[in-house]
């Protein structure tokens, strides 16, 4: 006798089919808006001479963190330009930038809510576990019917994959604010919002920054994988090299990814949070 198989896969397909029938027109509109914005951004950056962009990025990295990282950025991006991977790098950076922005815009508020409300936390945390442990490739499949092949589907999957640390670390940072400081803020008659913006968020800032750093790194890794659904950029270079067995070209693109990762990681890790405090 054959065992009865619970048709989870069939159910999920039904749900997604239902959603594609009724929601896809909306997601396609969003998709085309984001895609044209992304194209415009990339074109605009590519219009500027690469050396100027590289210098501006190096200076920004220096201002955000320190001089050593500025020099590293200058040399690293210079090498990428020299390898002829500048265009692909700009595309990848744009994808990472947009994915990270969306992830932070959605993730930080969710993190705040889960820190302040145990109810929300009970719902959000299992969802995050699911998002983080599900193999990332699986998200690629349903992204296509909603956003079509291309960079926006990549941004969507990247968000799903990269958002959890932003939520978790925001929640953790706020929960770690010492109880006696909360009590003091209460004793002076602070509202929930005043406590949040004047005490909890500034004190949680270093932890939230660590979360954002994680989000950026995960975005980068996912953006490369998302080349499989047409994200382009450095991932596209690697993908093409795999299909044609271009070992050298594959490694060159891989090295470019490593350079980008190092620059993003070191810069965001070294952002001086007490500089942020002084404003708050």
């Amino acid at each position: 006798m054959e065992m009865y198989k619970i048709p989870i896969g069939a159910w999920i397909e039904q749900v997604i089919e239902f959603l594609t029938d009724h929601v896809a027109f909306l997601t396609h509109i969003i998709s085309s808006i984001i895609e044209s914005g992304l194209d415009l951004f990339v074109e605009w950056v590519l219009f500027v001479p690469p050396w100027l962009v590289i210098i501006v990025l190096a200076i920004s990295a220096g201002l955000l963190s320190n001089r050593r990282i500025a020099i590293g950025t200058l040399l690293g991006l210079g090498l990428i330009w020299n390898l002829g991977l500048w265009e692909a790098t700009v595309a990848t950076l744009a994808l990472v930038l947009i994915s990270t922005c969306f992830s932070v815009l959605v993730g930080v508020p969710f993190g705040i809510l889960s820190a302040l409300s145990p109810m929300v936390r009970k719902i959000v945390m299992p969802v995050l576990d699911f998002m983080q442990t599900m193999p990332a490739f699986v998200y690629l499949i349903p992204a296509i019917p909603f956003f079509g092949l291309g960079p926006v589907a990549a941004i969507f999957t990247t968000m799903v994959f990269a958002m959890p640390p932003a939520i978790r670390m925001t929640c953790l940072g706020i929960q770690q604010v010492p109880e006696n400081l909360i009590e003091a803020a209460d004793a002076f008659g602070s509202t929930t919002n005043q406590k949040l913006f004047k005490l909890q968020l500034p004190l949680a800032a270093p932890t939230i920054m660590a979360g954002i750093n994680q989000t950026i790194m995960l975005s980068l890794s996912m953006v490369v994988i998302a080349a499989m659904i047409g994200a382009g950029g450095l991932g596209g270079e690697v993908w093409r090299a795999i299909q044609r067995l271009w070992m050298g070209r594959g490694f060159e693109a891989g090295i470019a990814v490593v350079i980008i990762a190092m620059i993003l990681d070191r810069t965001t890790q070294n952002i001086n949070v007490s500089k942020l405090w002084r404003k708050g």
Binding site: L181, E183, A184, A187, F188, G189, Q194, K198, L199
Partner: protein
Amino acid sequence: MKLRVKDLYKVFGANPEKGVAAAKKGMSKDEIMSRYKLAVGVNDVSFEVGASEILVIMGLSGSGKSTLVRCINRLIEPTAGLVEIDGIDVTKLSENELRLLRMQKVGMVFQNFALFPHRTVQKNVEYGLEIQGVPIEERAEKAKNAIDLVGLAGWEDYRPENLSGGMQQRVGLARALASGADILLMDEAFSALDPLIKREMQDELLALQGRVGKTIIFITHDLDEALKLGDRIIIMKDGRAVQVGTPEEILTNPANDYVEKFVQDVDITKVLTVSRVMRKAISVTYPKDGPKTTVHKMKEEGLSRLMVVGKDRKFLGVVEVKEVTAAIKRGETTLEHVMDKDVPIVHPDDNVGILFPETKYPVAVVNDENKLVGIVKRGSLLSGIADFGGTDGNV
């Protein structure tokens, strides 16, 4: 009355009203715990505090004193009873009214300072005003005044982490003062400081109190501190107020064994005044008395020193038997040349503690009008202390 607390109960756990009812029937804290799984934090406490009074709530850890003080501004919600500030029942306030009360009427100082590490001293002190929406310049000025008041002028732009413990607590005090609250709740405010700094802060708090006249509820586990600061003291045990009284009442008339045990450890010399141990200066001498008369008086009394007084017993100085005998040998007829005018004297209200450095007894006790009101002999000092139940025994 500035603050009135009546029949206050705080019971922690589910269905706390059951615990209150049980406590009202006279069930003990332990019984309530084992029968209802409820923890009684504050058990039937009532007291009143007048304007500009310092009330000290004293007890060991777990006695409910911190819970009690938090019931006053409802950082902990009382289970039953009344808390009245300026005639307004705090327990009935809405959330917004309660926030206004905390902003404007009741300041709080914490044991571990609880300063905001991301803000400078100035910004910490401004906090209460900032959340009230006070305009920037006014807020800066008020904060500056509070910082000056606690003696931290010049440290405005430092972060708390760069300040010593004593200075950090001054910031805590300034933060509570800046908003203009006239009731200060001080929860073990000086307990985390080392003894020297602690004493200095106590003195400054008293001096400050003299200037600004706040109503202060001061929590401590240190009886010496309670006796020094308190106009009145409440001693708490297991959530109950076991005795309420002035420092002297508590020392001389402990309500039960528990209070007595506390009092045993007190350094009496810090609270006993000179007037309690001095004796009448029955025999004195006058400047016009000749040296021979004086020596005679000394022999009669068995004294080696005698107080010299003028008209109306104005204190003039002290003569020593050795000097007077020498004067007789020199053939002098008055005490003018042998009288020591520059001797240490004490006031009747001084603590007896200041007597011990004196090596020459008896010591003259002189009042505000410079009249000799008595003398303290070494023997009477020690027996006076002994009457109070003794000290550590290291006098």
